[in-house]
């Protein structure tokens, strides 16, 4: 394999921001990327992740901060001279050019000699296993194949940095899983440095070396998948990382970081991630798989026991996903090894270490994005 990434040591984003008519789409993004890293920018729609990517690609000029590669500024370089590869959400293939010519386009722009051009195009096509489709127009290909052309077209240029803007969001679920592995494989075998934008936390967790969680243009947390998955720094990140149960509660006891929180007869012991004082309003976050129905095989953990009424039972293969309602009227998602009767009262337990307690900073619903407001409404 002769396709490989061009080398650099360090990509630095320093206080990068972009505002549109006074509104910050992205503010103060500071991030250092080492060559070879796979970084995912994660957040709901409108969080500024695509803005960040377009700023990196040079398709959007920055309004604040700077971008450096090995100490040299690149944010002042025109997009066509940055030498970054980009894969677009809708693939953005040239509809009038065959697969081959789509892939050759960038090489032609760089006036690569014909012989070398042919060899590199053939290699790129082989890389994404599209040999049989080389002479076809993009319109004759399936979504997954088009996606592979888009990737081949970006990596054939041996870019210093590959930018991917939700490349899998238009594919069906099964193909998405396969392409995930495929992208990760290419990233590793070609030694690429990849910045990957997605709103799918599972995708980000499974592919990236490090994640950047964004919300309303601001960075909430940067860390490895493990760090984000196990130790989200605030309830918003927790929410995004699959802590589906987020409950507004009051602190009833504090012992260091071990706190007890309660909401109308629903009491849990948990761990305060952000310092919490007695009587303070807080927000507890628990993953559905950490909050389980007590049964002969599942004992109470850490003295954490509370009750709720079963409202929905779904079969999920090995276990049951159960929807329960607390006495205070909160709907929660829990797991069970047996199917409880709908309407019955069950005992729930959770490891106090896995019940994360955050500062509530209850936000004004008016400032929420439409998507978040919808989520909040569904939860009530």
């Amino acid at each position: 394999m002769t396709i490989s990434a061009s080398k650099f040591e360090l990509l630095e984003l320093q206080g990068v921001g972009r505002s549109f008519g006074g509104i910050d789409a992205l503010a103060d993004l500071t991030l250092t990327v080492r060559a070879g890293e796979f970084i995912a920018l994660l957040g709901p729609s409108g969080c500024g992740k695509s803005t960040a990517l377009n700023c990196l690609a040079g398709l959007l000029p920055l309004t604040h901060g700077q971008i450096l590669i090995d100490g040299k500024r690149v944010d002042t370089v025109a997009a066509e001279n940055r030498g970054f590869g980009m894969v677009f959400q809708n693939y953005a293939l040239f509809p009038h050019l065959t697969v081959e010519k789509n892939i050759a386009f960038g090489l032609q722009m760089r006036s690569v000699p014909k012989v070398e051009l042919k060899r590199r195009v053939a290699e790129a096509i082989a890389l994404v296993k599209l040999e049989q489709h080389a002479k076809k127009l993009p319109g004759q290909l399936s979504g997954g194949q088009q996606q592979r052309v888009a990737i081949a077209r970006a990596v054939v240029l041996e870019p210093r940095l590959v930018l991917m803007d939700e490349p899998l969001s238009n594919l069906d679920a099964k193909l998405r899983l396969e392409m995930r592995t495929e992208i990760r494989r290419l990233h590793q075998s070609l030694g690429l440095t990849t910045i990957y934008v997605t709103h799918d936390q599972e995708e980000a967790l499974s592919m990236a070396d490090r994640l950047v969680v964004l919300r309303e243009g601001r960075v909430l947390q940067i860390g490895t998948p493990e760090q984000l998955h196990n130790n989200p720094e605030n309830w918003y990140v927790a929410d995004f990382m699959g802590y589906r149960n987020i409950i507004d509660m009051d602190v009833t006891a504090v012992n260091g970081s071990a706190v007890t929180v309660a909401n109308k007869g629903f009491t849990l012991r948990g761990t305060a991630v952000e310092p919490a004082a007695l009587g303070e309003k807080v927000r507890a976050a628990i993953r559905p798989e950490d909050l389980v129905v007590v049964s002969p095989a599942v004992p109470v953990q850490g003295g954490n026991s509370t009750t709720a009424t079963v409202s929905v039972v779904e079969y999920h293969g090995r276990e049951f996903a159960v929807g329960v309602t607390t006495p205070g009227g909160w709907g929660l998602h829990v797991r069970s090894d047996h199917a409880p009767v709908v309407g019955s009262v069950v005992e729930l337990t959770a490891d106090p270490a896995r019940v994360l307690v955050f500062r509530a900073d209850r936000i004004d619903p008016a400032t929420l994005s439409a998507e978040e407001r919808e989520l909040a409404e569904v939860r009530r």
Binding site: E80, M86, L93, H96, F105, M109, L137, R153
Partner: protein, 311 residues
């Protein structure tokens, strides 16, 4: 024949009523909606058109005597009478450059006006507004504005740029201006909509692959836009080719802008030779068809599929 085949045949035979089966093929009461259009087409186009063709084969005795050719005398006259025949060239000389100019000038404007900027709507409106002006109003305005005693000439003389007034109307230029004023908004509107049909991320992709704006335009935008340009060219060409009022009002009706429509009108109105008038009209149509066919032939070699955008 084996039994299963017969079984399959029986299975495919529809049991629905005739009415239902006809409806399936689009034959039902809603076809009545087409009746008014059909009546109009017959009464206002097909019948007069056939009648006109018939007229061309009934030359007047004068034409027959002068040019010979029996029933084809009108056509012989058309090709042999330089006064009539030259009007093809005179019309072409106006319509082709005007159509070409309208298309070519629209491209950069449509390009710029695709982006958002302050005053974009106002500018677009200004460019499209002339559509609302009739040809007569345009001609009148041109005469007042660009005539020998018009504002433009007086202004240019006053600031000392020229000594003698420029002859901008009552000649080829006057008609050309008028064709641009009435044809440009059409071309601009059409090309704008074709351009908005091209997904902007395609251009962004070309940019990230190292193409500068010239390469992006030539290699990506132009091939995708070309079919739209061909259509726009055909429409503005047809519009310009049938020019009549402005050729008379701001042109040199018996000289440099003696266009075919004027010749047909002369045969009809002044010589009351309906046969000759019809012949000129039919020939106009034929020449337009030839130009359209050439453009469509060129277009057939181009990429015609989706352009990825919303268009």
């Amino acid at each position: 024949m084996s039994a299963p085949t017969i079984g399959r045949l029986q299975a495919t035979k529809s049991t629905a009523s005739l009415r239902h089966r006809l409806a399936e093929r689009g034959i039902d009461n809603s076809l009545l909606l087409l009746v008014p259009a059909l009546i109009f087409a017959l009464a206002l186009f097909i019948y007069p058109f056939s009648y006109g063709i018939g007229l061309t084969f009934q030359p007047s005795p004068a034409i027959q005597q002068k040019w010979g050719g029996g029933a084809f005398a009108n056509y012989v006259a058309f090709f042999k009478d330089p006064f009539v025949f030259d009007s093809i060239w005179l019309t072409m000389r106006l319509a082709l450059p005007a159509a070409l100019f309208n298309v070519l000038a629209s491209i950069p404007m449509a390009f710029k006006l695709r982006q958002r900027f302050r005053g974009r709507k106002l500018l677009t409106t200004l460019l499209v507004l002339p559509i609302t002006l009739g040809t007569v109003l345009t001609a009148q305005g041109l005469l007042i504005f660009a005539g020998r005693q018009g504002w433009l000439n007086r202004f240019l003389i006053q600031i000392g740029l020229i000594d003698q007034p420029l002859t901008l109307v009552n000649n080829y230029l006057g008609v050309f201006f008028s064709l641009v004023i009435s044809g440009f908004p059409f071309a601009f509107l059409l090309i704008s909509s074709y351009l908005s049909g091209i997904d902007p991320s395609i251009e962004a992709a070309a940019k990230t692959m190292g193409a500068d704006w010239k390469q992006r335009f030539r290699r990506v935008i132009l091939p995708l836009l070309a079919p739209g340009l061909a259509t726009t060219f055909i429409l503005t060409f047809v519009l310009a080719f049938s020019v009549f009022p402005s050729a008379r009002l701001v042109g040199d009706a018996m000289g440099s802008t003696r266009v075919m429509a004027l010749m047909a009108y002369r045969a009809f109105g002044e010589q009351t030779d309906y046969g000759m008038a019809a012949t000129i009209a039919i020939m106009m149509g034929l020449i337009e068809l030839v130009v359209i066919a050439v453009v469509l032939l060129w277009r057939s070699f181009l990429y015609k599929g989706s352009t990825g955008g919303k268009g």
